[in-house]
């Protein structure tokens, strides 16, 4: 047996993230922060070059671009000194995207050339969604790894049909009252079917916590409607006074009052949407645990609102060039507000037997903009 002079601590290179401790064993509760080390300058160059190549290849390169983007964000996200890995290959993604494009074109053809049949096309799409959800989750999980072990998703398509299709029927019959309950069921399906290192994730949230978010959102909507009614009353009085002065000027002045009102309406709904997103992400992550290791998520609503708004303004102002900056910003904030609360030996995980999944599921999910993650 050959032995080279044993590597000592002096020989170790200086890695980009702190080296992992020799043994990952925690006797007391200590939190490990997630770290995001991506840089806007570096990512902008990767992003724009990939975009140009995608355009020049009429979209074929988009699968490779996707892999590089995901690898970049995964590799720059780390916890306990170890970065994540994205392991998907471009070719399965390309095949999935071509199929997705064909389906999308078929849907568009129906919508434009035979609009009477568009509802049927939409129905077919809805029926396919649970299948798409399961394939996407399985593909992403299987192609994500941490410290060389892959994640996994064990949810069955049959169960997905129950959670993502059947349960909407009672929601409709109760005029939406059951929606938070169904949302809880879906998150539970998603989280508890994920696996890592031979262990299943567990979902500890209670249904009432979903109802709290929902009720607060409803209260927000009610408040928004009330303020809109009040504002409309004011506008009505104001524009009445303005238009009585007559002439083209009146119309311009009315618009001057209407525009802020529309901003308030869109802004209000946008803010409520951001609140629901933020609160749900926190709730789900905080309720996720893996063999007693827990996650801690402390996203703040006003930070997220500011991030979303400023990102949107920047993207519009720069005709899209600010997109890399916006993504880095968001990833950095999310990582900074997420922590791992370890319990016991983080080395005690074991690899699962390999299962290959086809790419199709996830790519169709992305293409049709089905929201699948947190």
């Amino acid at each position: 047996m050959m032995h080279v002079a044993a590597a000592s601590a002096d020989d170790l290179p200086i890695p980009s993230t702190p080296p992992p401790p020799a043994v990952l064993e925690y006797d007391f509760v200590e939190t490990l922060p997630f770290r995001f080390s991506g840089q806007t300058g570096e990512y902008f160059r990767i992003w724009i070059v990939n975009l140009a190549l995608t355009l020049l290849t009429l979209g074929i390169y988009s699968a490779w671009a996707k892999v590089r983007t995901q690898r970049y964000f995964y590799a720059h996200t780390s916890v306990a000194g170890a970065p994540f890995e994205y392991l998907a290959r471009p070719v399965p993604i390309l095949i999935g995207r071509l199929i997705a494009a064909a389906l999308f074109a078929a849907y568009l053809a129906t919508a434009n050339l035979a609009p009477a049949y568009e509802p049927f096309a939409l129905l077919a799409l809805l029926v396919a969604i649970p299948w798409i959800v399961v394939r996407s989750l399985a593909f992403r999980a299987h192609n994500s790894a941490w410290r060389s072990l892959r994640f996994g998703f064990a949810g069955s398509t049959g169960r997905a049909y129950v959670e993502y299709l059947l349960w909407y029927v009672p929601v409709l019959f109760t005029f939406g009252l059951l929606w938070p309950y169904v949302a809880w069921r879906q998150k539970r399906f998603m989280v508890s079917n994920h696996r890592y290192g031979g262990q299943p994730f567990a979902f500890q949230a209670r249904v009432t916590e979903f109802y709290v978010i929902w009720l607060l959102a409803i209260a927000g909507v009610v408040g928004l409607i009330v303020s809109i009614i009040v504002l409309m009353g004011v506008i009505g009085a104001a524009s009445g006074a303005l238009s009585s002065q007559g002439g083209d000027d009146a119309e311009a002045r009315i618009w001057l009052v209407m525009v802020p009102a529309m901003v308030l309406i869109y802004g209000g709904y946008f803010a409520i949407f951001v609140y629901i997103q933020t609160a749900t992400t926190n709730l789900v992550l905080n309720a996720t645990d893996l063999a007693s290791n827990r996650l801690l998520s402390r996203l703040r609503f006003r930070h997220m609102l500011w991030l979303y708004l400023s990102n949107t303004v920047a993207i519009l102002a720069t005709v899209g060039l600010a997109i890399p900056w916006a993504r880095i910003r968001m990833a950095r904030y999310r990582a900074s507000r997420t922590q791992l609360v370890p319990h016991g030996d983080l080395d005690a995980f074991v690899a699962e037997s390999a299962r290959t999944q086809r790419a199709i599921g996830q790519e169709i999910g992305d293409f049709f903009d089905v929201d699948l993650g947190f």
């Binding site: 032995h3 020989d11 980009s16 993230t17 975009l51 355009l55 988009s62 993207i315 899209g320």
Partner: protein, 310 residues
């Protein structure tokens, strides 16, 4: 982080056996056609054809993957490239492109210019070629469906008296004859709550009662109808829909890779582009209408007159 002596010192990394998340610091070295991995409790040589190396991505950590599932993760990208120089050479172009600001600037130009060229010059002819392939019968069916939807949702039956409708239909027929022959167009009347006239695919032009009431004389109405005949003859509605759809597909493909923060950022480009297409179509329709009106002895200026009434 890359030192010129790294080749003699070996490349440092963390070895994973593929079954547990525990890692062992190891040193890699190239021994001819094999890679040697040495560390505490790790002593193995791998022939190169059983070694996979992740593509380089900036300075991120990447892995060497061995045939038995074990891996070595390393941050020493330059060292890894030196170890497996043949593979590094193959993908050097991409690493260079993604690393150079000059390439990034060039890429910005390519994206904007290429995108604009594609949407302005490639998509419309493509969409038009598809439009030509669509048989007139299909267009008629489409038109019937569209009109059916509009009738159910927006329109009420006309309240114009019969003789008046016949009069206008006759004038419309004369207007058609003055121009290029095509499929016979039909004039339909509806009450819609606002003055309007528009072309429906398949040969129908719809005119609302409110427009008839708004017009000062029949010359004005014929001017509007001539404009709509222009839209029909050039199949603008169909071409417009196809062009819109093509832009949608293009944006969807690109934004599938690009994070769009709100619906606004993806809806705005489509809206702006549609405004551009419409101007082109309006010019075509105006030109066609001008010819029709002159040939049938009506004043083209009537169009400006009725526009001012809105």
């Amino acid at each position: 982080m890359s030192t010129s002596g790294s080749e003699s010192m070996g490349v440092h990394g963390l070895y994973y056996d593929g079954r547990s998340p525990r890692s062992v610091p190891v040193t890699l070295a190239r021994e001819g056609a094999a890679l040697s991995v040495r560390g505490a409790g790790v002593c193995v040589d791998w022939p190169l054809h059983q070694v996979e190396l992740d593509a380089r991505l900036g300075d991120t950590r990447r892995a060497l993957r061995f045939a038995d599932g074990s891996q070595v993760h390393s941050d020493d990208n330059d060292g890894l490239d030196a170890l497996l120089s043949e593979r590094a050479r193959a993908e050097r172009w991409r690493v260079r492109l993604e690393g150079a600001w000059a390439a990034a600037l060039l890429a910005v130009v390519v994206v904007f210019v290429g995108g604009w060229l594609f949407v302005a010059y490639v998509l419309p002819p493509l969409a038009d070629r598809v439009a030509q392939r669509i048989p007139p019968a299909a267009e008629t069916v489409l038109g019937e469906q569209v009109l059916g939807i509009l009738d159910r949702a927006h329109f009420e039956p006309t309240q114009l008296p019969g003789p008046r409708r016949d009069e206008l239909a006759a004038a419309f027929g004369q207007l058609q004859e003055a121009g290029a022959r095509g499929m016979p167009l039909r004039l339909e009347f509806r009450r819609a709550g606002m003055p309007n006239a528009f072309a429906v695919p398949g040969g129908t032009v719809v005119m609302t009662d409110e427009l008839v009431e708004l017009a000062g004389d029949d010359d004005e109405l014929m001017a509007v109808l001539a404009h709509e005949i222009g839209h029909q003859r050039h199949r603008h509605v169909l071409r417009g829909m196809l062009q819109d759809s093509a832009v949608l597909v293009l944006l969807a493909t690109l934004t599938g890779d690009v994070a769009s923060m709100t619906a606004l950022t993806s809806g705005l480009p489509t809206f702006l582009m549609r405004a551009g297409f419409s101007r082109e179509f309006e010019r075509e329709a105006d030109a066609h209408a001008f010819e029709l009106l002159r040939a049938s002895g009506r004043s083209p200026r009537a169009f400006a007159r009725i526009m001012r009434r809105f």
